[in-house]
Amino acid sequence: MHKLFCYIQILFLVAVLGSCSQKSEPIQFGKDQCALCVMNIADKNYGAEIVSDKGKVYKFDAVECMIHYMMKNDTEGWAPYAVAFHEGGKLFKTSELKFYRSVELPSPMGRYITALHEDSIVKKVSKKHPGKFYTFDELKAQFHDLPVLAP
């Protein structure tokens, strides 16, 4: 009897810990809404997600919306993800991505931020569309001073 109680306790602990993990959740395009601008997320090339320290998932239609959200709220220790350009809407950790700003690649909320992952796509895109690379931290730090792009 004592043993059984022990098992139940362990199970409970696992369940609690499991629910706290910062796991990302795939974006359901066409269904999910942006947590900041309430738009439906529909473009498989753009999107972002942040997972709170308690495991709650907030989805965004663009990286710029997520950065806005991070500035407005205390997101210390939260895990940010972004959708990589041209990879079928898959999410990657922002630390694994290169962020690219080109006037020829407009993102959904008008700040021209495109996240790139695979090397071949990085090469292809930067060759075709002139622009500038940023890391996520650079983007966040300079967000209000980013050069205004307009055709």
């Binding site: 395009f29 066409g30 269904k31 809404q33 601008c37 309430v38 738009m39 439906n40 529909a42 473009d43 498989k44 090339n45 350009f85 041209h86 407009p106 909320m109 008008g110 292809k124 895109v125 075709k128 307009a150 055709p151």
Partner: protein, 424 residues
């Protein structure tokens, strides 16, 4: 005096001779002078007409770089499958009329479209049928164009977002979009940095996302359009001075569906519109100085949902009939004016018979506040318990705001007009 007249005459002659310039007709068809549209266009002089006869033409990447009239007879079908736009216009004053463009491929690197205008102004695109394309009509930095009477059908199925927008304007001003039918695309009409756009008489239905979508576009008007069964209705975002009149927002059902979504919008007018059978007829966030007059809200889940920082709006002379919740807001004291509306929920009386109810109407129900905190509680709606709660709250308000009220609710519904007049 005579000299002046002579000069006028001279101008008249110049006018006639210019008109005479380039009036050639180039015919494209199986047994005509040209069998390829592209070849005919390459051989044409400015202001010529290229006539395309009925048939099937598998030609992508058709470039129009001079002012021409492209006219189809019985909707010749241009198949644009491949890695290019079907038709790209880079010249002013081009007319494309009566053709059918199909099968432009989905491409995530480029926004491929059936008809693309790049820095092309004063063009007319009319009576075309565009089907199964990624984007339908795509305008980039093109002004003063007319897009009318087209039918633009996408290929999106439910839960799939592989299609682009039917009409997409980007950095394009003063364009007119009239009497088109758009369906099964991502957005029916999408405007980004498109000021002074006029949108009239369009029917936008069954889109994956919005029937009409404004982003950063000021001083626009949309009048007499119908929006039905779209993923989320119409969205007007980050824009100023928008006139919305005589539109019908119908059957936008779904957990996140609106008739009209207003977000970061200032100085707009929402007048003479009909909202029927939407989950939320109007949803507003950061919507300021907007006049909501003479609209009809009928059979919606929520009539109005105004959340946070919506200031100085006027909601007056509207009919609220048979909505589950007429009005929801999360602000305690609001600077919004609500007056002289008809509420079918109103249970007051009019003893002095002046047509206005003697006690104010408070449109916020207790249960709508509960469902805002616990959305799943909606399952208890219409139950006896909830009706009792609502009644108790009405008699003695404790949770709902006492400040949000219509001081003079009218007893009879307003007679409203929803047909645009010819001079609108």
């Amino acid at each position: 005096m005579l000299q002046k007249r002579l000069i006028y005459l001279l101008f008249l002659f110049i006018g006639i001779s210019v008109q005479g310039y380039g009036q050639k007709r180039l015919e494209v068809g199986k047994d005509k002078a040209f069998t390829s549209v592209r070849k005919a266009i390459n051989n044409a002089q400015p202001f010529d007409t290229v006539l395309i006869y009925e048939g099937y033409y598998k030609e992508a990447d058709i470039q129009i770089d001079k002012p021409l009239v492209i006219e189809g007879i019985n909707y010749p079908e241009i198949d644009g499958s491949g890695d290019e736009n079907a038709i790209t216009v880079t010249s002013d004053s081009v007319t494309i009329r009566g053709i059918s463009v199909v099968n432009v491929s989905t491409n995530y690197m480029n926004d491929l479209a059936a008809i693309t205008l790049i820095k092309a102004s004063y063009c007319t695109l009319e009576n075309n049928r565009l089907r199964n394309n990624f984007f339908g009509i795509f305008l980039q930095r093109s002004n003063f164009n007319l897009i009318q009477n087209n039918r633009i059908e996408g290929n999106s199925k439910e839960d799939e977002v592989s299609s682009g927008n039917a009409v997409h304007l980007w950095y394009s001003k003063n364009n007119r979009i009239l009497n088109n039918e758009t369906l099964k695309h991502r957005d029916g009409i999408y405007l980004e940095f498109a000021d002074f756009t006029t949108i009239k008489g369009n029917f936008s239905h069954d889109q994956i996302r919005y029937g009409l979508h404004f982003m950063f576009s000021n001083n626009c008007k949309y009048i007499g359009n119908e929006f039905e069964n779209n993923g989320a209705g119409v969205a007007v975002m980050f824009s100023r001075n928008i006139l919305m009149r005589y539109n019908h927002f119908r059957r936008n059902w779904g957990s996140a569906s609106y008739g009209l979504l207003l977000k970061e919008i200032y100085d707009a007018e929402v007048v003479n519109n009909q909202f029927t059978e939407n989950t939320i007829a109007i949803y507003g966030e950061s919507a300021t100085r907007i006049k909501f007059l003479n609209n009809s809200f009928k059979d919606n889940g929520w009539g109005f949902k105004l959340l946070g920082s919506c200031y100085d709006n006027i909601v007056s002379e509207n009919n609220f009939i048979n909505n589950n919740f007429d009005f929801v807001t999360n602000v305690e004291k609001s600077s919004n004016t609500i007056s002289k509306n008809y509420w079918s929920e109103y249970s007051g009386y009019d003893l002095d018979r002046n047509g206005v109810g003697d006690i104010p109407h408070r449109p916020i129900k207790l249960f709508s506040v509960v469902t805002q905190v616990v959305p799943d509680a909606i399952i208890l709606n219409q139950s006896l318990f909830v009706q009792l709660l609502d009644l108790a709250e009405k008699v003695n308000p404790t949770i709902t705001s006492v400040h949000i009220k219509d001081p003079d609710p009218v007893m009879k519904p307003w007679r409203l007009f929803f047909k645009p007049k010819s001079n609108d």
